[in-house]
């Protein structure tokens, strides 16, 4: 049992353990900090910046920031909410997120984050409308990189859980994107049972399982009734931690 670390989130006193990140300790305390690139079971990478909080008045990513004794974390404040809305909007505008035709709609974490943060209109910024080729080479899996939000969850899942290297980042800046370890996805050793391509690993509709489109009816999809983060805020409502 590691040492207890006392700190505060929005004035609420919380006990965490030494070595934990703010995110982990908040999850344990039933406080949801919005996030996209961070997901349970994979090492945090701090790239989407949705989990930005203020630590003693300075911004930091909750998923990578370790706890320190007495730190004062601000999470649910208007300033931070506005940053998060801006970041979600940036992601919505960077790619092609045509929710009406996307198979991930209803279970998409980007979309759900828009709902949770109350983004009525994702139209603050211009739409970049990228044109990236779709990789349909694999018999079971389709990649639509126009929807990729660069969260790297598939990359880390492939490395850390599957022990493979199916995905990786390529390019730089606005051209940074998802690469595959071969000419195309069919040229890799990906298998449909890999965690990297399992439902829930890709938070959006970039990695799509062929033959399973729109299998959940509207009204029964993951985020139709409850906001993203409910499982952390109400653990008894059924999330195995």
């Amino acid at each position: 049992m590691s040492k207890t670390v006392k700190f505060k989130i929005d004035g609420v006193k919380i006990k965490g353990r030494a070595g934990q990140t703010i995110m982990d300790a908040a999850d344990d305390a039933g406080i949801y900090i919005p996030r996209l690139c961070d997901v349970e079971g994979l090492s945090p990478q701090g790239s989407c910046r949705v989990c930005t909080v203020k630590v003693n008045g300075r911004p930091a990513a909750a998923c990578t920031q370790p706890l320190t004794e007495g730190m004062d974390v601000e999470n649910d404040i208007l300033e931070i909410l506005n940053y998060r809305r801006d970041i979600i909007r940036m992601l919505l505008h960077e790619g092609n997120h045509l929710c009406p035709i996307c198979e991930a709609s209803g279970r998409c974490e980007l979309q759900a984050m828009g709902y949770r943060l109350g983004i009525l209109q994702p139209a603050k910024y211009p739409y970049l409308q990228p044109v990236r080729p779709i990789d349909a080479s694999h018999p079971d899996i389709l990649l639509d990189k126009n929807r990729c939000i660069r969260c790297g969850r598939c990359i880390r899942a492939s490395k850390q859980i599957d022990g493979k290297n199916v995905f990786g980042y390529i390019g730089r800046g606005i051209h940074k994107g998802l690469g595959v370890n071969g000419r195309d996805l069919a040229g890799t050793n990906v298998h449909v049972s890999d965690k990297a391509v399992a439902p829930g690993t890709c938070p959006v509709g970039c990695i799509i399982r062929k033959g399973l489109g729109f299998h959940e009816p509207i009204g029964r999809r993951k985020f139709d009734k409850v906001p993203i983060g409910s499982d952390i805020e109400n653990p008894e409502s059924g999330r195995g931690k």
């Binding site: 045509l98 929710c99 009406p100 979309q111 994702p122 139209a123 409308q129 044109v131 139709d224 906001p227």
Partner: protein, 185 residues
């Protein structure tokens, strides 16, 4: 004084207008506080007076869409983009994916009228009647063409979110939108 409402469908599918009808019997309550001016709901083709609220469905694919949208901007105090097409182009905006090709518009027309596997076009003609509005080089969202004051997302937005937003706009208060009403699909 009753608030005056105008509505129009630009490059949309009229699905958002179906949702206007989906407010069901509440339309009677709406008519107690508001009246419709130019709208397909009453088939009024021209503005008869200045309006308080204009609801826009659909984005801009051709010059007529642009013209109509500009007319709405001139004649309405508040302009509300309703639905995915008005806000971000929606399904029609997928044609912008060919913008990077050599001759995008021609490619678009040929795909639509000649080459697509689902097309039967014995005359091999691309419609070009002078009465047809010219198509734009790409699909523009409503906020790209005129200033938009509010937006109601959804494809289509539900009758409930339309109702709640309209009543809030009429009363000049923020809309109360419980979870589940804000939807992008």
């Amino acid at each position: 004084m009753k608030k005056k409402i105008a509505t129009v469908s630009l490059a949309g599918c009229f699905g958002c207008h179906m949702s206007i009808l989906d407010i069901d019997e509440r339309i009677l309550d709406l008519l107690k506080v508001a009246e419709f001016d130019k709208t397909p709901v009453n088939d009024l083709k021209k503005f008869t007076q200045r309006c308080d609220i204009g609801l826009i469905e659909g984005g801009c694919c051709n010059e007529e869409n642009v013209h109509t949208l500009q007319e709405f901007r001139k004649n309405c105090d508040l302009l509300v983009a309703v639905g995915a097409c008005a806000i971000m182009g929606g399904l029609p905006v997928m044609r912008n994916a060919i913008m990077n090709s050599e001759d995008p518009l021609r490619e678009c027309l040929e795909e639509a009228y000649l080459n697509s596997s689902s097309v039967y076009n014995a005359d091999n003609d691309i419609p070009n009647d002078p009465a047809l509005p010219l198509i734009l080089d790409k699909v523009y969202t409503c906020p790209e063409v005129v200033k938009i004051d509010y937006q109601i997302p959804g494809c289509p937005p539900s009758g409930d979110i339309l109702w709640r937003t309209l009543i809030a706009l009429i009363n000049g208060v923020p809309a109360d939108l419980p979870y589940g009403l804000i939807r992008y699909d």
